[in-house]
């Protein structure tokens, strides 16, 4: 039986294993953690006082036909399909799929690890989310600065969702009047994609949130709450809520050039095959693809690789479908694909309910049993390919001085 080794038992790896388990494959999932975290619930655990079950045992999410090994991959020879782990074991297979996700990498920015240790964040783990919740519970007024430290961020709506939910929390607690709320971003506008910004910027204005654009975090001083930007600006706050930069897993690869500077893997954007090696793929946040890092992508990419491995050619179309809580009781889905720019649907209560339903549906979705429903849903909500209008031939612009 053909052996498939999947590195990482997260959203993509777990679904892929279960899809392959129904076929004649010998499937092994090698995962650093046996507790599977539903990452989107970190947002509500930290910022809305919710206490859903954030994790489930990975073993229970996998088909009985799938072998689960709890260990951390440290060296991967992609050509030989050989994986060495932290415990010293070696695994070999006929096909290899890397699904090790993205990890928060606060050490990239001076002072950010200390800041996260003290104030937490809602992008790394349950403990950090609970630290942030405690910091918000202790907050009695002053300045809160919310934003993303670097352009690499999982789930593009999450930084703006953070500021909307914090605004809401402060209003509920009667603290909004006593708080200066600042939102910073490395982009030239509050929301990276222009079409979505049309929904976000006016809302921030209406809520009295101060916005600092083109603010790339250079360093943070947790002792004084000072955030400095590469552009030379400075922001002082009492509570920094900073989305950390992200990087790929600390795995050494052979050949080494499959990795980019942030340790994400160069995969074909449609087939997800790793460049330059056979029978090796990368899916989900671990892959360097020109689309957002989100669970929806990991899910759809797992399906593509499952089809590819069964000999049916398939292609990932770059689809995103990110639920976005606008903090006012409504939500939108941000949808895009390689051929369609990010557009929002109309803000509705229903969209928010669907987002709130996701924690329940998620665990079941990993079984692969809901695929017919997902197929129909994604087809129904597919973004209209809106190719960029042909660029008008402008006069040559003089060199700006």
């Amino acid at each position: 039986m053909r052996r498939v080794l999947i590195l990482g038992g997260g959203t993509g790896g777990t679904l892929l294993a279960n899809l392959l388990a129904r076929r004649p494959f010998d499937v092994t999932v090698l995962s650093a953690s046996d507790a599977h975290l539903f990452q989107p619930s970190l947002l509500y655990a930290a910022l809305a006082g919710a206490s859903p079950r954030l994790t489930r045992p990975e073993r229970r999410l996998l088909s009985r036909r799938v072998r689960l090994v709890r260990d951390t991959a440290v060296r991967v020879d992609l050509r030989a399909k050989r994986v060495r782990t932290a415990s010293g074991s070696v695994y070999e297979s006929d096909a290899l799929v890397v699904a090790t996700g993205a990890r928060a990498a606060p050490a990239q920015i001076p002072g950010l690890s200390e800041t996260a240790a003290r104030f937490g964040n809602y992008h790394s783990d349950v403990a950090a989310a609970l630290r942030l919740r405690a910091a918000l519970d202790a907050f009695r007024g002053g300045t809160i600065a919310v934003g993303q430290a670097s352009p690499i961020c999982v789930c593009p709506p999450s930084p703006a969702e953070g500021v909307f939910l914090i605004d809401r929390l402060l209003r509920r607690r009667g603290l909004r009047e006593k708080t200066r709320l600042v939102f910073f971003t490395p982009y030239p506008r509050p929301y990276p994609a222009a079409a979505i910004d049309a929904l976000v910027a006016p809302r921030l204005r209406a809520l009295g949130v101060e916005v600092r654009t083109v603010f790339d975090v250079e360093s943070v001083d947790p002792a004084t709450g000072t955030i400095r930007s590469l552009e030379g600006d400075e922001l002082r706050c009492d509570l920094p809520v900073i989305v950390p930069p992200f990087a790929g897993a600390a795995i050494e690869y052979e050949p080494a050039d499959v990795l980019d500077e942030d340790r994400f893997l160069a995969a074909d954007k449609a087939t997800l095959r790793l460049k330059g090696v056979d029978d090796a793929y990368a899916i989900g946040d671990a892959a360097a693809l020109p689309t957002s890092k989100a669970g929806v992508g990991a899910h759809l990419q797992a399906k593509v690789v499952a089809a590819e491995l069964t000999g049916k050619p398939a292609a990932f179309d770059g689809r995103t479908h990110c639920p976005f809580d606008l903090g006012d009781g409504t939500g939108v889905f941000v949808t895009s694909s390689y051929s369609a720019r990010a557009v929002p649907c109309r803000p509705r209560r229903l969209n928010l309910w669907m987002k709130k339903l996701m924690p329940r549906v998620y665990w079941l979705s990993l079984s692969g049993l809901l695929e017919p429903i997902f197929d129909a849903y994604f087809a129904l909500t597919a973004p209209q390919a809106a190719p960029a209008p042909p660029a008008p031939a402008p006069p040559r612009e003089p060199a700006a001085r």
Binding site: S150, P151, Y187, A193, E231, P290, A340, A342, P389, A400
Partner: protein, 83 residues
Amino acid sequence: MPPEAETHRRIDSRGEACPGPITDLALAYRRAKDGDVLELWATDPGVRSDVRAWAERTGSELLSVEDRDGAIVSVLRVRRRRP
């Protein structure tokens, strides 16, 4: 110690819709040194106004924006206010 040589880096964001090009540019800016030249190739027309706003705010010099081989090519020189 003599300063490190300035580098010229080409960033290919062709085929990526907004905010792909500006994301790639912001990432390259993070890694650039004062004086480095970044050449951004993009096909999304939104890049014209984004690059201009971005250059102004980061204090970088926008050396040129032109159409080349079906792409919009912007050339910028990074200026660090705090080198």
